[in-house]
């Protein structure tokens, strides 16, 4: 199976790189991700793959998201650290200090509360659909059934919810 995936990887290398350049906006980073993909495929953990092309695109997409999240996480940690350090003797502490764990936990708690607040304050229909799908993990079809609306109705609610949440959670 891995052999098949490697073959497809080589065949699609050009278009994957083009996609990654578009997705990251950065040629060097796109090459990095492509290299990570190669390592990922080499690990051979994928199991049988029905549609290798879609699979490779999805791996690329997920790797880019992982990088984005890591970058964001670092930014938030650095900012929280700076805020905490100013006004206390922590400014002389090293950020690998054990207290950094406590800081991360605190940040996580605040994050959860902020997300919960934003979700709780969605328009009622959007909140119900969003919570059932995103938080409770029901597929769109089941959400539609539970709420007695069509699947496209669920999708509309989801889009409304995302727009509201984006506004409510901005600049975090």
């Amino acid at each position: 199976m891995e052999g098949g995936l490697e073959t497809v990887y080589h065949a699609l290398r050009g278009e994957l790189l083009r996609f990654l350049v578009a997705r990251t906006g950065n040629a060097a980073e796109a090459e990095d991700v492509l290299h990570d993909m190669w390592l990922r495929i080499g690990e051979g953990n994928s199991g049988p793959v029905a549609n290798p092309r879609a699979y490779l695109y999805r791996v690329a997409q997920n790797l880019v998201l992982d990088r984005l999240r890591e970058k964001k996480r670092r930014e938030i940690r650095d900012r929280a650290w700076m805020e905490m350090a100013s006004g206390s003797d922590l400014r002389h502490a090293d950020p690998v200090d054990p207290r950094a764990d406590a800081l991360e936990q605190m940040t996580a708690r605040e994050e959860v509360a902020r997300l919960a607040s934003a979700i709780a304050n969605l328009p009622p229909g959007a909140r119900r659909a969003f919570q059932l799908h995103k938080v409770e993990g029901l597929p769109h079809g089941e959400v539609a059934e539970r709420l007695g609306i069509s699947k496209s109705g669920v999708e509309k609610h989801m889009a409304v919810a995302m727009k509201y949440l984006r506004r409510a959670l901005r600049d975090d």
Binding site: E15, R18, F19, A22, R23, T24, G25, N51, R53, A54, Y57, R58, Q61, L65, L68, R69, K72, A108, R109, E110, E111, V112, A113, R114, L115, A116, S117, I119, A120, N121, L122, P123, P124, R127, R128, Q131, L132, K134, V135, E136, G137, R146, E155, M158, A159, M162, K163, L165, R166, L169
Partner: protein, 321 residues
């Protein structure tokens, strides 16, 4: 960033898990404008933040099939008062007020303990029987009786009462008497309204001086309008009860007047809800922090204006002028 681009990003993001997702079309869309990538990043990160905290959010959010969660914003100003029951006969308002002002049957021989907290303070109280009480800011608890089983609360507190055969704890708060034989619950009361939310076990709630009681079990809250003698029972998330101890104020369908008096405990300035908005219901989670941001956050979430009046912050209906 335009709304159209955001809409497109949301649509691409939603479709990306489909087996037949159009990766070529997506690539072309990304290449068409760098703003497309930025919008997609934003949506993907937002989605990832929620997915990452899914279990914690599921525990904190009120269940979808619970009582109506009444939400903010202009489209929601009329509050559906579903499930209101006639809570007590008319004409007992005076009796309730009296019962609060004069603690009944206090023998001078019995020890009375008084606990008070100031703005932004909280206090952990342990009773002889192992009961633990977390008293929120700007609150007052009086403990009476040889068995330390008669309590009077003004303000807000979370109670953790162990079960003891043959013993009943009686708590007076917000014009009600709550009797309890082993449970965890939270009380928030001001002059108008009282909210009791039960996390574990069950309690009996009755207006002071009345014989009829309502049983309230875990996962339920009752919001009592003292003047109207009405109580509304609805579902709440047990894990969120008492979360003020972790610096979060969680409300599910609570009148704005009670929210305002609660945040006054932390804000250092009295906060009041104007008559035009006092009965609006609020659901949401507020982060206490140093207390200074609470009023602004409520105002923003509910689209209200703030002004200063007589040394207090007044919340009023938003709009211009």
């Amino acid at each position: 960033m335009t709304e159209t681009i955001i809409d497109q990003a949301i649509a691409w993001h939603r479709a990306q898990d489909d087996a037949d997702f159009d990766w070529d079309g997506f690539t072309l869309w990304l290449e068409a404008d760098p703003a497309h990538r930025a919008a997609f990043d934003e949506i993907a990160l937002l989605d990832a933040r929620i997915v990452a905290h899914r279990p914690a959010l599921a525990a904190l959010l009120p269940p979808v099939e619970g009582a109506p969660v009444v939400l903010l914003s202009a489209e929601n100003q009329a509050v559906p008062r579903r499930r209101w029951t006639r809570w007590a006969g008319g004409g007992i308002a005076a009796a309730m007020a009296l019962a609060i002002a004069i603690p009944a049957l206090r023998s001078p021989a019995l020890p009375v303990l008084e606990y008070r907290t100031g703005t932004g303070q909280s206090r952990a109280i342990a009773l002889k029987d192992g009961s633990r009480i977390a008293l929120a800011a700007s609150s007052h608890l009086r403990v009476e009786g040889e068995g330390q089983d008669r309590l009077t609360l003004e303000g807000s507190a979370t109670f953790d009462i162990p079960h003891r055969p043959g013993r009943t704890m009686m708590i007076r708060a917000g014009g009600q008497e709550i009797s309890d034989i082993g449970t965890r619950f939270d009380i928030l009361a001001d002059a108008r309204t009282m909210r009791i939310a039960v996390a574990e076990g069950a309690v009996a709630v009755r207006p002071t001086g009345k014989s009829e009681a309502v049983r309230l079990s875990a996962g339920r809250q009752m919001v009592i309008d003292r003047a109207a003698h009405q109580g509304e029972i609805s579902a709440v998330t047990p894990n969120a009860i008492g979360s003020w101890q972790q610096g979060r104020l969680v409300y599910e369908g609570v009148p704005l007047s009670l929210v305002a008096s609660d945040i006054s405990r932390y804000a250092g300035t009295p906060v009041r809800a104007g008559a035009d908005v006092a009965d609006r219901h609020f659901s949401g989670v507020l982060i206490v922090g140093d207390g200074s941001g609470l009023v602004g956050e409520v105002a923003q979430l509910m689209g209200l204006r703030t002004s200063y009046q007589g040394g207090a912050v007044l919340l009023r209906a938003g709009g211009t002028g």
